[in-house]
Symmetry: C2
Subunit: 825 residues, 2 copies
């Protein structure tokens, strides 16, 4: 565990008047460049009279939040320089893109990354023109923006990202600016509580700054309309010491605002230094540091501060009318053009830029240099500081498998043993995130190596198990927080995984959308280095939710992810413990993916030895010859394919019935681990060529495919390969109720008996000859259901079904129908 | 507007000792029945010694939260009786299912709804056995539970549901119990602010009760570990007057706990009565009522209260070990069986039930009777009190369409005019929900009839537009809140719609999952009457997000919904204003569906008159003969199909090019409004028969299908109809950047030129003969992109493309490339 070694002490002096003047000049420059980006495509220094043709034809962007963001940035810069802080800037109101681009340009970082946008008039012109312009940059803070780890777009994740970024970065601070609109979202509302999961010794500091500019697109914001007393109570209730700043109203002299804000920021940073000092001392004495009331700042300024006070007689500065482009007709009316001209000139660009169009050195020097610039902080380009995980050998954790199906394991529990060692070997580089389900998902072995990190009140250990002020497991009952923390952690160059119930992972659908888009865009940006993949472990899955009734089943997260770009998304359905180990070993080595791994936590037969598993996973799918009844050199009659642990059991059970009942039938069994293999190679990098596909599924054989999720996905993935619609898919079709596991399968026509019926129905010549067997299957289903309804559990020959009847199951683990509640929030 | 007329006054007297004894007896009975449900399948009154075979083979359920829920229920019942309250009970910790089932059984409602579960020993046995048992009821509070509008499962929505249920119910109160685990979720964390959107005159009362039992599955809860001071600050910050109750610890005499809690609840209800009294007076004098600090209760009791104190030497009561089934081995070990026996007998069932197994009358009478029972409150069976909307005639709002494409309208703006009248005609029965986007989505006409409801601080009207303490539009920047409120409103028998940006609606993916499941289950429950449909209006859609960069595009909500059951989900893509009107008219009349309607807000050609639109929408899809070049009696050469407003434009533009350039080609143009029509009739009630499908798409013609969203969905829907994979779909394939609208189409190969290329490539005999035309299309694409990159906008002949060149577009509205920022959060 790394701990703080040298948090800088607090300086004694407030900024001088001269320094404040230069900060003000820097702010004016940043605002000037912001307005320039929104409106101009020429005449960037206003050295000519402003003409209509200098204005962009489409005016797109957001002004309202921008001046507040640049103000804060300017003051953060002063503090960084004076205190030697290692800082990053998280822009919650991401549509303030022009402000952040302006800041990074003024710091020189932008031109370093994009040399064409140079520090001169031509570069300025490019800077302005490219904004929200075809082929240019988005209006939001985006992956293209140096120093950003947080895209504008959907709102609500700034604080989670900031905390995630600061875990295990004891010497860093994140200025996390939240919009007051964003603050209304659920994810943000709960992310305030992140401070109960932060360790002052080992983690960095988040300074939340609530940007209270009062309005959204068309409405006031809730937090701006509570009154100060209620707001202060709320923020104290969130565990903070709030510092209030109100500035820019009623024609306040901006220099007065600068002076007052500098004092507020210094107060916050002094408090932080004191907390960090105490934490260092505690660490030196081996003491724990209790959760302090970290400072935070309420930054109340007018929306569109320094913009037009009124437009066409309507209040603009300080109102929602400043949200986007206040002077929408700047190109169309002389009056608006004149207003724009006056607005731009109010920043006095002639006092800010030199002959060549470069920011004056005395102003530029208010910002820090090189890696101290927030726009150049290495951690914000996480891949550039990423240290690969030291991964223990999965061989040491493999389950012995002499014969397929001869023993039983809980796959996620086996994985948990390996993860324990991953945690042990990577004490400051890897975390496990989850909503109170790590143990429920059977990863409890990790607690042999670590604890759950928690920094609120404790009870004695007979109640609070595995809870400590420092630990690698992060549990909070908010999937949004887990996802946000993990994203922040990955984006700053670390590794992790998110363990969740399958049904509830939909909660983060829209968050992972944004992360997938971030990955896609950064793939195209040379300077952004590859990140560790975002790894999901989805357990307590659709086929084992029987007792919960029709409320916890949904395997659709896979479908959701498959809509994202092929180069980003990987989906794995390991059928047993060793394949899960091999899969996760691969996932934790991979970069720039979203890996979705679905694996059950219940006792399940082991099919493959580790060597076999490694080969099978490397291929992504394969023929299980031992399970089929193929004859060498002859084409089989039917392919039984499966993907997912439970469908694999049912498929093998069906194969066994067929072997016994129709010995002449040549059955091939195919198992799919890597779902993307089903696509054609032109569609996905993992896809198969038509030849390879036919090599496995035959050229024109009937395929009965038992799939873990919604059947349609298999049709979709295999679409280009699926000549004559020969693939018949069984899977979850949204049927469920309070019943047994096997009845759940029957309700969805995905049980072994139904698969046998499907074979009889689909293989030519069987229907008549095996009508009796088909009827037996129908009867078996009825008997199984009757048994379940009478006894409350599946018949033993189903629940404890064995592929290898000679095996000693007692040695392998609990029977498949072990007492288990499946877990629940 | 309905306003409170008669909130009951506060009674003077606290409960007598005798009354408290009877309340205690009722609580014991409810707890006894809860434990019985979890463990027993026989011997329900323990009249025989407890034997192993009386215990269920699989023990499933959640004990931990249950005794708190039953305690609160018992006390709520006293208050209802004493004060004559009209109350419902929202169970946030929904896995406390046994407690709520027990309460409704004790009230008699359960037996009224399910006569087989009678008020005698046999009924008791059935009650116990069915719980979490195949063919029985789920372990959660579910649609099957009388009095519930809120399913257990995913957590976080209890408070939003409660507020949604109380809108426009001035005489009601909801006791909204939140779990402290649930309180960690984002949606719940922000839903506290619902009190800023509630009007004390016109809306009912939510009494939030934070059930602080301290633990989740395996962890303490955050709110239980803040210390009282911080927690109180938080709750005051949320705008409440918190009343604290701690009971049940350190062997407190339960009678003392009852007495103290009764006083706390009385205090809360007295405060509420006072507020309501004031609101009545204000209403009588035409005054507004400012937001009061509504009371709420912090209910701190041990998890698993009254359960085993320790099991196998481990602390159980008051710890996470009580979360699910504390005595998991009750069937397996003598010791646990004895513990279970002692636990059950600790409730002294012999003092609670009469000879027949019926609750003693003196105990039963502590609960209210008939419709005053929370389990029988008519509003909790929303369909039973639903009043159909008075819908204004869409004819009065139709756009004049003499010829297809001869005029232009903003479809959602036209809809807004109709919605204004819907609002006007249904002043207490219909609300519009959205995250700050009602006007951005062009529904601003509704503000001619109503305002946005807001009950926090106000600024003058030059800043706060259309904001009032009472209004039909509910805007908060939380899709979770919008969805939760709307669900609560619908579940209690009212009507509404949710207007959102398309990309951000994924935020509620998992919420709508639960609602869809609720609808599916209630379809099977005769006694649950049909609800108004949950209607979405998704605008600012994928094809018009150009300036935002690659962050706002995602049409995948449709895919997400299509995985739900066919009988629940409807998806509509009206191509113009009149079809949108007709579609929404249908949606607001429909019941028990989730209707997803996607429609652009930008100026768009009008294709159909209202009469034509009505016919087209009734059919769901149809041939647009005026757009094609078919020859009567001959089969066309190709079908150009489209779904979505922008794909329709591109398809028609392609058809026009083909008409001019390949006049001999027989083109059929098909437009699809109701996406479900593409399925086969065996798959979806709206599906087409194979004959009907062929009648429209031909038997074996190439089909070029321009679709609004991810192309795969069309393949999926039309799978059974799609012989020989002849349907070629264009749509959004996750390509986007900062560029123009037309370039967005080009990036996704969905533009008119590419559609023409597709026709040339796919219709036999064209490739060679029209190689030149194909090259022209390639060139046209290059030119369009070059123009966009140079000028920042699409060429006028594309942006203002006209189907009908003779039309006077000036009259119809703004050109398609009007200044518009697309809106943004």
């Amino acid at each position: 565990m790394t701990t703080t070694t040298s948090w800088p002490n607090s300086p004694a002096d407030p900024p001088s008047g001269d320094e404040l003047s230069r900060i003000h000049a820097w702010w004016r420059a940043a605002n000037y460049l912001s307005v320039g980006q929104i409106y101009l495509k020429d005449n960037p220094l206003l050295r000519k009279p402003l003409q209509r043709e200098h204005v962009k034809p489409r005016l797109l962007g957001h002004w309202g939040t921008t001046p507040g963001l640049t103000f804060l940035y300017a003051h953060a810069n002063r503090a960084i320089r004076q205190r030697g802080l290692n800082a990053m800037y998280i822009t919650g109101p991401g549509h303030g893109g022009p402000g952040l681009v302006a800041a990074t340009y003024l710091e020189g970082t932008y031109s370093e990354v994009y040399p064409a946008v140079s520090q001169d008039e031509e570069g300025l012109n490019r800077l302005f023109t490219q904004f929200s312009f075809p082929g240019g940059i988005p209006s939001h803070v985006a992956p293209e923006t140096p120093g950003s780890i947080h895209e504008g777009g959907e709102l609500g994740y700034s604080l989670s990202h900031a905390y995630g970024a600061m875990f295990d970065r004891p010497d860093q601070i994140a200025f996390a600016v939240m919009g007051d609109g964003e603050a209304e979202t659920g994810p943000l509302a709960t992310s305030w509580h992140s401070n109960k999961f932060t360790n002052p010794q080992q983690d960095g500091v988040v300074l939340p700054i609530l940007h209270l500019n009062g309005y959204k697109i068309a409405n006031p914001t809730v937090l701006a309309r509570l009154g100060d007393e209620e707001l202060e109570a709320l923020l104290r209730g969130y565990g903070h010491t709030p510092l209030f700043f109100t500035g820019g109203f009623e024609d306040e002299d901006p220099m007065a605002a600068h002076e007052r804000f500098a004092a507020v920021l210094d107060e916050a940073l002094d408090q932080i230094a004191e907390i960090k000092q105490r934490a260092q001392e505690d660490a030196a004495h081996g003491r724990e540091t209790e959760r302090p009331a970290w400072p935070m700042i309420v930054f109340r300024t007018p929306k569109g501060w320094t913009g037009p006070k009124t437009i066409d007689g309507q209040v603009t500065e300080g109102s929602w009318r400043s949200h986007q482009v206040p002077l929408a007709s700047a190109r169309d009316t002389e009056e608006h053009l004149a207003d724009l001209d006056a607005w731009l000139r109010s920043y006095r660009p002639e006092e800010l830029f030199d002959e060549d169009g470069r920011l004056l050195e005395e102003i530029a020097s208010t910002a820090p240099a090189s890696a101290q610039r927030m726009s150049a902080n290495p951690a914000t380009n996480g891949g550039s500081v990423l240290i690969p995980l030291r991964l223990p050998d999965i061989r040491d954790h493999a389950v012995e498998v002499d014969r397929p199906g001869a023993s039983v394991s809980e796959a996620t529990k086996v994985l948990g043993g390996w993860l324990r060692d991953v945690v042990r070997d990577n004490p400051d580089n890897f975390r496990i995130f989850g909503p109170d389900e790590t143990a429920s998902n059977r990863l409890q072995s990790v607690y042999e190596a670590t604890d759950k990190q928690w920094n609120a009140d404790f009870e004695p250990h007979d109640r609070d198990e595995h809870l400590a002020r420092s630990g690698r497991v992060m549990e909070v009952l908010s999937e949004h927080q887990c996802q946000g923390w993990l994203e922040g952690y990955l984006l700053t160059g670390r590794h992790g995984l998110f363990s969740s119930y399958e049904a509830f992972i939909h909660i983060v659908d829209s968050m992972v959308n944004q992360h997938a888009k971030w990955l896609k865009v950064t793939n195209e940006l040379e300077w952004r280095r590859p990140l560790a993949s975002l790894n999901y472990l989805l357990s307590s899955h659709v086929w084992r939710q029987d007792h919960n009734g029709f409320s916890h089943q949904d395997p659709g997260f896979i479908d959701h992810m498959v809509n994202k770009k092929a180069e980003i998304v990987r989906v794995y359905l390991p059928p047993d413990a060793n394949t899960l180990l091999s899969t996760y070993d691969h996932c934790l080595r991979s970069r720039q993916y979203v890996n979705v791994v679905v694996a059950g936590k219940q006792p399940n037969p082991n099919w493959l030895s580790l060597d076999e598993a490694a080969v099978h996973c490397a291929r992504g799918l394969g023929i299980w010859e031992w399970a089929g009844t193929e004859v060498d050199g002859e084409e089989p009659d039917v392919v039984l394919a499966c993907a997912g642990d439970i469908p694999t059991i049912e498929t093998l059970a069906a194969a066994k019935i067929l072997r016994e009942e129709i010995p002449s039938l040549k059955v091939r069994v195919v198992n799919v681990v890597d779902l993307m293999r089903l696509q054609e190679d032109t569609e996905h990098p993992h896809g198969l060529s038509p030849q390879d596909f036919d090599g496995i599924f035959g050229e024109d054989l009937p395929v009965i495919f038992a799939y873990h999720g919604y059947p349609w996905l298999i049709h979709r993935l295999a679409y280009r390969h699926d000549r004559h619609s020969r693939i018949h898919v069984r899977g979850y079709k949204e049927e469920g109720t309070t019943t047994t596991p096997f009845d759940m399968l029957m309700l969805n026509d995905s049980d072994r008996y139904h698969l046998v019926m499907d074979v009889i129905d689909r293989v030519e010549g069987l229907a008549t000859r095996y009508a009796g067997l088909r009827q037996q299957m129908v009867d078996a289903r009825l008997r199984a259901r009757a048994h379940a309804y009478e006894h409350g559990e599946d018949p033993a020959h189903i629940a404890q079904w064995q592929w290898d009847d000679t095996a000693d199951h007692a040695a392998g683990g609990a029977p498949a129908q072990a007492q288990d509640t499946g877990g629940d929030n």
